[in-house]
């Protein structure tokens, strides 16, 4: 609390980028060169959604766009498509962050789950429309479910390690603005 509020906010933004780069790095480790018939959760997406739902001021839209565009390039996905869709989903959550904050965790989870489902379906729909090569449907569905199930984990890690919690109703930041 000793730091100035502006510095705090920029630290938060900086930590988001660091966390995202760390997650991409973990995904890139050459541990799994044998094809699997299940898919691990997309932790990057879950963490981004957790931060946006809880502290939208720490996740400016530019960092979302940059992080996910970089992930698209490094993870060999169609470039810019996931970044585009996730930007849309993040804006959807940002617009609802106020009502998410006043609801229970169950409500927050359901809202985020809807956003994750929408991201997966939109991704598949656009790839199908542009006749691009696609991953097997079962793998995408498994990854979608795993990401939804992993959301509480992402929330917990964000809270325990980075102190990202839901601001209480009526809580104001150091500028006197409602958070």
């Amino acid at each position: 609390m000793a730091e100035s509020p502006i510095a705090q906010r920029w630290f938060g933004r900086f930590w988001f980028i660091v966390l995202a780069c760390g997650l991409i790095f973990l995904q890139l480790l050459p541990l799994q060169t044998v094809p699997q018939n299940w898919a691990p959760p997309d932790m990057l997406l879950a963490v981004a959604m957790a931060w946006v739902a809880r502290r939208p001021d720490l996740v400016p839209i530019v960092s979302i766009a940059v992080v996910f565009f970089l992930a698209d390039l490094l993870l060999h996905r169609p470039p810019a498509l996931m970044a585009l869709i996730i930007m849309g989903a993040v804006e959807f959550l940002r617009a609802r962050s106020e009502s998410i904050r006043s609801g229970s965790f169950g409500f927050e989870w359901i809202t985020v789950a809807l956003a994750i489902v929408a991201v997966t379906l939109a991704n598949r729909a656009i790839l199908a429309l542009t006749a691009s090569p696609q991953a097997p449907l079962s793998l995408s569905m498994i990854q979608m479910m795993m990401t939804i199930l992993a959301y509480p984990l992402a929330v917990m890690v964000s809270y325990l390690v980075f102190g990202i919690r839901r601001p209480a109703l009526g809580e104001v930041d150091a500028f006197g603005r409602p958070v």
Binding site: L29, P30, T33, V34, L81, L84, P133, L139, Q143
Partner: protein, 301 residues
């Protein structure tokens, strides 16, 4: 104070909306350009990977090593049993090695008698695997050698034993290998005793399927599968694996390469072959003198 904040919001709102709009447009544009002119964006992707991944090199190897160490430690109990098994297996292998050496000598003698010329141009560059594809949907690895080392798109990649995949995407210091198990991998193959040509099609499972087989009745599980030079994609006679019958009753190939441990990979320098273009002139006893010059010289030499 409240008034100030209000005006502040009034300025920030439209600027933010403009920013979001511009970002959306740029990203959508990138995707559309990728769909229309994929090679350009893929070159950009290769350049970005080339800049980013070698920076992580110092951390990649130790972290991977530690995680593997932990995984290996968990299986420590089975190690004594495994050791005994391996000793037994080694005993059998020694007998086979003797047989192989004798066969190799015999083979060399026969080749010598036949005056066979093996392809002298098949040399290789060895690279270390930096990263995997990072997603369960794509099967590829990134090597730490690239255009700097003379790597060219399309060259075949092997581990010590069998074919692993093909170079697809070359940066200055890195190159991506599409594994045979990737859904977009298609490689011409030859099933050996029956000599049938087919296509090995990856489907994101460990054993890729055999497609376009002319007569499946002639192929049995256990047949050897090697690459062919159809279409000039690969050099011929690289070991790919063995035919197996999958659980779905489709013919698949159990790959000879050890996909569990892809650490060091060989990229074969695949020089373009000389191709024979003309059909061959008709050799006639009486040809007009004006056009027969070349033919006559060739004949004399």
């Amino acid at each position: 104070m409240a008034r100030d904040r209000q005006t502040d919001e009034d300025y920030v709102g439209p600027i933010r909306r403009l920013l979001v709009g511009v970002l959306l447009l740029v990203l959508a544009g990138t995707f559309v350009v990728w769909r229309i002119d994929s090679p350009r964006i893929e070159r950009f992707r290769a350049a970005v990977i080339d800049k980013v991944v070698p920076n992580m090199d110092w951390a990649l190897a130790p972290v991977t090593g530690i995680i593997n160490l932990v995984a290996d430690f968990q299986s420590y109990q089975g190690l004594a049993q495994q050791n005994a098994d391996l000793r037994r297996e080694l005993q059998q292998m020694k007998a086979w090695k003797e047989a192989a050496l004798q066969l190799e000598q015999e083979n060399a003698k026969l080749r010598d008698l036949n005056n066979v010329r093996l392809d002298p141009q098949l040399t290789y560059v060895t690279g270390v695997v930096l990263t995997d594809s990072g997603s369960p949907f794509r099967q590829s690895v990134l090597l730490n050698i690239g255009a700097r080392d003379g790597i060219i798109d399309g060259w075949p990649v092997m581990d010590g034993i069998g074919l692993v995949g093909r170079i697809a995407g070359v940066g200055q210091e890195t190159a991506r290998v599409i594994l045979l198990t990737d859904t977009s991998s298609r490689v011409p193959i030859l099933v050996q005793p029956s000599g049938q040509h087919a296509i090995l099609a990856g489907d994101n499972s460990l054993d890729p399927t055999i497609d376009f087989l002319e007569d499946p009745d002639l192929v049995r599980p256990g047949d050897r599968v090697v690459s062919v030079s159809d279409g000039g994609v690969f050099p011929a006679d690289l070991l790919v694996g063995q035919v197996v019958l999958g659980a779905d009753r489709r013919l698949r190939v159990r790959l000879a390469a050890d996909y569990e441990r892809l650490e060091f990979l060989r990229v074969l320098r695949n020089q373009p072959r000389e191709t024979i273009q003309d059909q061959g002139g008709l050799l006639t006893p009486f040809s007009a003198p004006a056009e027969s010059d070349g033919v006559a010289e060739g004949g004399n030499g």
